[in-house]
Amino acid sequence: MGEATIYHPCLILAKGERSDTIRSVRLDRRQLRFLIRFAVLLTVLFLVIFLEPVDRNVIAPFTRGLTRVSAVLLNVLGEEVTAHGTLIQGRGFAVDIKGGCNGVEAMLLLCAAIAAFDAPWRARLMGLLAGSAALMAFNLVRIVSLYMIGERWRRLFDTFHLAVWQTIMFAVAASIFAFWSGRFASKHVAARS
């Protein structure tokens, strides 16, 4: 209790009080604990989604569902596509939604960060549910927009697929975490300390 306010330097990053620059990268114990928990949780969650039963019973059906919803949205927008498994096929273009494109990795990062943060379990649960839902919504926008970009401007597809949307997805995950930890979780930490 109350240790969050104590200023413990991270020995790797800061030795002594030599300058403002060095002081600025100090971590207190709570932050260090968060980083360790985050790294462990992220690694564990990553390994879990690669387990064959998890992939077969959770990830694969989830990705197929995402494909179907994306196809419905594309048809609403007048694209005339069909969904087969994880493939969205149109008149002259098709996208296959694979691991890395289903938004699960950004969700893992968000879930690991929220679960690792020192906050009440109810706030964590709310953050996990709302954050994951927001990321899924963004991922639908990503898939729909990537299909439309690929169909119209094929040369831009790779750039948007790799550099732009992947960056946006993880930035959204980071922003959701920053918003959640600032609005909800920090009240708890302040109350404790």
Partner: protein, 176 residues
Amino acid sequence: MWLRVLRFIAALIAAAIVWYNLTPFYDRFLAAAASPLIRIDRRFRDTRVFAADRIISVRAKEKRSDLPPADIPADQLTYNVILLAALFASNRKPVSDRNVVAFLTSTAIVVVLHVVAVLLSVESTYAVRMNEWSSAHYGTVARYFWLYAEIFYRLVGMFAVVFVCWWMGSATMKRT
């Protein structure tokens, strides 16, 4: 709030353009920096590591060597700098000394990570994608280790490191 979103979008576009245009030069630096690391593994002691056309290549120095050639798309290892720049640009005081120092420190960490990522990709490529050569030179555990290490880096690790750097920078800025 909206100003921060706008700064994020502007930085994303600017960083993507800078990254795309500087990548060919940066790849050469990465190849040169990763080369001594790669050669620590005795399987690659007599190799040349070089970059051309956004690809980092590994070739045997001797023509008689049985080492197969490997080509690694370098773009897929380094584009997390776009996220790094965009996140730091979206901070409250983006041009404050602390934010700039935190950004530069984070960039240095990410550059070191890129060198390690080249090593991971080379090991993973040779461990699992060279058919008979792979099974002759790597054990089962080693093959899985390098494969999962590479996948972890590409799918979440490269972004997680950027997220941690940004979070640490933001946390220390809020506190001071």
